[in-house]
Each structure stands twice: as C-alpha cells, then as structure tokens.
Amino acid sequence: MDKINKIATELLATGKVQIIIGYAEGSKGRIRPFFARNEKECEKLIFDERCVQNLAVYLYKEETSRRGQQAIVANISTLRGIIRLTTEKQIKEDDLIAIIASDKEQPFEAHTFEDIENYLSNQTFQLNESDKTLLEQLNAMTPSERRTFWQNEMENCIRCYACRQACPLCYCSQCVVEVNQPQWIPATANRTGNTEWHIMRAMHLAGRCVECGQCGKVCPENIPIHLLPIRLAEEMKILYGSTTGISKDENCEMSTYKHEDTENFIG
C-alpha cells in the first residue's frame, strides 16, 4: 500500500508529527512494529492482512512519546485500544493522528477522536472462527472438564509475561507480580502460580479488554489465554450491555454498580 507511505511522508515532512508507529517487513516473512522518524524510513511502512498486532501498546511508552507528536497506523483493534486508553486518561485526547488502515479500503487520516468513533461505529466486531469455536466448546464443557483443560494449558506457561507486555491496557508501571513484599503470586512457573497469574490478569482486564486477542497471539506456548478476558467481556456484555473501546464516554463497569445487580448467588 503506497498510500500509507505517502500519508506518512507528508506528515513527517510538514512537521505535523515527529514519529510514526507502524508495521514493516520483519524476518522470515513476519511483520514487525516499526517506528519511522524521517521521510526515508517511511518507505519501509507497509500494511496488509498480516498486520494484526495492536500497536496502541507503544503510544504511552516513554521511548516513543518523548519524540514529540505521534501518528499511528491503526487497524480496528489498535483503534479500540486508543479509545480505551483515552477513556482511562492514559493518552491525551486529540494528541495523535491515526492513519486508519484496513484490507478493504484506502488508508486515511483521522485527526480527532470523533473521526475514530465514527469509523468504529460502522464496524462489526467479531472473534475469529477458531476462537469462537474454542470458546463455545469450553462453555459447553462441565466445570471439571474445563478444569482439566486449563490445568493442562497452565502447566505450559513459562511466565514470560509476553501477554502482559503485548496488552495495550496493561500499563501499570509496577505490576503486582513484580512486587515481593507481599509476594502475591509465586514468581516461579508452576501450575498453581500460573493459574493465579492468569486469573489476576483476566480480573484486572474485566470491563476494559478491547478483545484484540493479542495476549494469546504472542504466547510462546500457544495457550489460549486471550479467552479468559474475552469470556469476561462476553459476560459483561450480557449483564451490563457494556462495550469497550468504541466510545470514549463509556465507563468501566467494574468501578461502578447498579442496585439491581444479580444477587442470586448470595445467601
């Protein structure tokens, strides 16, 4: 897509932005995140169907934000990440230019968050087929079958925390797992500790997850951990009709309550 390079070059040339976060060709046919700082580097920017990574994770990183005004090549999940980060006041509103890219249409610039919201309001959000099937399978299992499934999966976790690093919403400067007084979760990789870590991660993402599935994609052990926050998002959609990362006015369902919340499990 030459159009992306054109937009990017122009943005940098006119001095509107100082850095462009985007995708470039990596090794072995893979895609890597790429940071273009001058017009020459813009030539490397690409966008195709392989560019699924959620780049919103780089927006608030010191290494990129200190370079000045940012522009970002954004697919749908990145856009949802941007909106959610604005809702949580992690990035300033209208402080970045999004180059909205998709396989279907030509890329275009979005200068305000209203543009992004308008674009997202015309999109449909769906899980990919394999995730959908697995989620349905898991939901249909009995609790003890699910337990066996997850125990086998959790056994493989090596606690590399790639899931945390890849998630645009895991932005705490100090994560609970790095605290050792008190040591909430054992630091070594064992089944109990791994399960606790993934429970914790999912709980902290409840009502915030933008369902990009990035955590599962980056997992070196291919554990479908993205299904945990996605399952909670599904439940919250049913219970509270909540959406995440679609409009910047949405609130976090976990920091509020309703008097009519279900009480059928409380004795």
Partner: protein, 136 residues
Amino acid sequence: MKNNNFEPKIVAFVCNWCTYAGADLTGTSRIKYSSNVEIIRFPCTGRIDFMLLLKAFSNGADGIIVSGCHPNDCHYTSGNLHARRRWIIFRTLLDFIGINIHRITFTWVSAAEGAKWAEVVNQTTNKIKELGPYEL
C-alpha cells in the same frame, strides 16, 4: 478424596460493621457453631480484593466465606454494592477456569443476625467436608 476425619479450614472475610458484629452476637448469645472458621476482619466488603481469596486458597484454605452488610446498609454507602459486582465477575472467571465456585460462600449477615452467622458457618463447613480438600 473423601475422608470422614477431614476437618476443613475455612477462612471468613467479613466486614467490620455488620458481619463481624454479627459474629460477635453469635458468641454473646452462646450459640455454638463449627470451629473450622477463621475470621478476618475488614473495614468493608469493598476492601476484599479477589487476590486475598486466591491467597487464602494457596495458603491452605479449603473454603472461603465472604460476608458483609446487606445492600443499602453499608457503612460507606456503596462498598458492598461494588463488591457484589466484583464477585459476579470473579465467579464467572472461576467457573470458566473450572474451579468449583461452591467453595466460596457469599452472603450478607447483619449485626443482628447472630443466628444466621452460625448457620452460614455450619452449612459451609458441611459443604466443604463433602467437597474435600482444595487443590488447584
């Protein structure tokens, strides 16, 4: 793992204003109840982080009771209502991961419900005795 001599360890996370006072009333009313429970007092149910529940399990608890003021009775107006929403989601997650959600008893016990407290503890103890020791 059913063992007739199994005495479960139950940890109760209770709020200072209602359930703790309720448990006090159970004692002053000389109502006998199961001694398997260890009570931990919190300022409010809103303070009971799910991490504390996980910690209790990993430190050897077989069952957990979480109890506080009835809705609209919260000393801090809405702490219990925030907690209730957190429990709904936490239970969904535990169920999805396959942990038996019946190991955690959620209940409201007011400062006047000394008898209910004894009943809650006894029922939970019996339930956990049937379920056996907790393993993750």
